[in-house]
Structures are given as C-alpha cells and as structure tokens.
C-alpha cells in the first residue's frame, strides 16, 4: 500500500528516513534541507540561496513521484532565525506563485547539519 520514493535528483537521506512516502494519492515528503544532491553537503549562501535549494530538492522529489508543485497542499517551514521569514517568503512565493499551499512557519532551536531552513511537504492528487 505504501510506496517508498527514492531519487538521485534530490539529496540522499541523512538518517533513517525515506525521501518521501506515497500512499493512496498522498505524498509525504521528508523535511528537506539545502543539501546539494551531487555533493551531499549544505550549499554555501544565506537564507535566499538555502530556501531555493530546499525547494529545488522538494521539486526533484515531487517529480520523481509523478507530482508537481501545483499538487502541494501543505508546507511546514522550519527556520533557524525568525528574522529570515521575509527573505524566505520572497523565494518561496516564486515556487508557489498562485493558489499556494496551506503553510505553517516558525523558528526552531536547531536544524540538522546547521541548516538555516528545513521544509516538509504534503502533496495530493
């Protein structure tokens, strides 16, 4: 019933989780951090670059599972620093220009590998 999604176009998992799991037309994408899929390392750059890389990773997993950004119904954005909220929004809105998903966003204490942002995603079709 559940299908594990694996793609080399997105970073490999850095722990005991799948990149995404699909069940009955719902895709649960694990929290993505700004890893470069080719090096497996956090990209250099600030919140704008990191947000862009995270959302590209999300896009690669969506594509591997046969979904698109338009199918995304919910995002959760974890920030290292709440003052990055506005800059994150600017990049985020380019990936979801119309009919954007429901979303929650907040700052947490720490994100794995010292990332500035992590985004988890649910898509449905």
């Amino acid at each position: 019933m559940k299908k594990i999604i694996t793609t080399q176009a997105a970073p490999s998992a850095v722990g005991p989780y799948s990149q995404a799991v699909e069940v009955n037309g719902t895709l649960f994408i694990s929290g993505q951090i700004p890893l470069d899929p080719s090096t497996g390392k956090i990209i250099s750059g600030g919140i704008a670059e990191q947000t862009e890389q995270v959302l590209r990773n999300v896009g690669a997993i969506l594509e591997a599972a046969g979904y698109t950004y338009e199918d995304v119904v919910k995002s959760t954005c974890f920030l290292k620093d709440i003052s990055d909220f506005k800059a994150m929004n600017e990049v985020y809105s380019r990936f979801y220009p119309s009919n954007p998903p429901a979303r929650s966003a907040f700052a947490v204490k720490d994100i794995p590998l010292g990332a500035l942002i992590e985004i988890e995603t649910i898509a449905m079709k």
Binding site: G25, T68, E70, D71, V73, K74, S75, T76, D81, I82, F85, N89, Y92, S93, Y96, S98, N99, P100, P101, A102, R103, S104, A105, F106, A107, V108, K109, I122, M124, K125
Partner: protein, 152 residues
C-alpha cells in the same frame, strides 16, 4: 445564442462566488480557501482542501480587521488563534468537530496549562489528536500558533 449564454453563465458564477467570503479555485484537484480579509501578497493560503481533507495554515493571534497581532497574553492570544482557526474551517464548509489533528506551537512551554484551558473551550468533547511544544520564535512575535487538519 448558446455560445453567448455560456460565457454569461460563467461570468455570473464568478461574480457570485466573489460576493461570498469564500473564493475557491479548483487547481489540480485541490481547492484553495481564502477569506475576504486575506492579503493577496501572502505566499500561503489560509486553507487548502484536497478530497475530503482540509489543511489549515498555522494561525497566529492576528486581528482579522487590522492585520496586527492583538494585545494581550497567552489567554487572549489562544482565544484569538482558535477564533481565526474556526473562521477558516467554517468558511471552507467544515465544522470544528471535523478537526482530527492540531499542532500547537508556543514560544514558552510554561504557557501550556493556560493554553489548554482555552483550547478545551473550543474542543470540549472528543478533542482532536494533538502535538504541542515550544519553538524558538513565531512570526510577528506571536506567543502561539496552531495548525489543523480536518476531515469530513
């Protein structure tokens, strides 16, 4: 005549739906729920429905009229958040009883008891599944944010 009628009917439908508080767009199987008070510039929707499932964005204690965070402590903010949440849920055509899961984010875990007291007023029986925890910071300096999933 038929060719003229179709666009007319479409226009009527569009103008009628914009008169209500709910504007819903069917995109790729998902329905986006917006309120008349939702700023157009926001990169998230108040709620998105797919199938019989409603994902409600994290709500903070913003006054829907002024768009600013209300005055007051955790008690007032929790009440405002749950009123905002209810407004989105009802605009989408759901009821509070349809909520199956909430996530409660607070900036201070010592607010847990007071939050629970107000929360119980809104979910007095058969309350949803829930996770609650303290985070580092919330947008606009809010004390509490609550997101919800409803199913009907």
């Amino acid at each position: 005549m038929k060719n003229i009628m179709i666009p007319l009917v479409l226009m009527l439908t569009v103008s009628l739906s914009s008169c209500t508080d709910k504007s819903a767009d069917k995109v790729a199987g998902k329905r986006v729920v917006t309120l008349s008070t939702t700023p157009a510039s926001r990169p998230y929707s108040p709620a998105v429905e797919a199938g019989n499932m409603l994902f409600v964005s994290g709500q903070i204690a913003v006054d829907p009229v002024t768009g600013k965070l209300i005055e007051g402590g955790i008690e007032e903010q929790t009440r405002q958040v749950l009123e905002n949440l209810t407004k989105v849920i009802e605009t989408a055509g759901y009821k509070r009883e349809n909520v199956v899961k909430c996530t409660v984010l607070m900036t201070d875990i010592t607010h847990y008891q007071v939050m629970n007291k107000i929360y119980m007023e809104f979910f007095p029986s058969e309350p949803p599944a829930r996770a609650a925890f303290a985070v580092k910071d919330l947008p606009m300096g809010a004390l509490i944010e609550i997101e919800a999933i409803a199913v009907r």
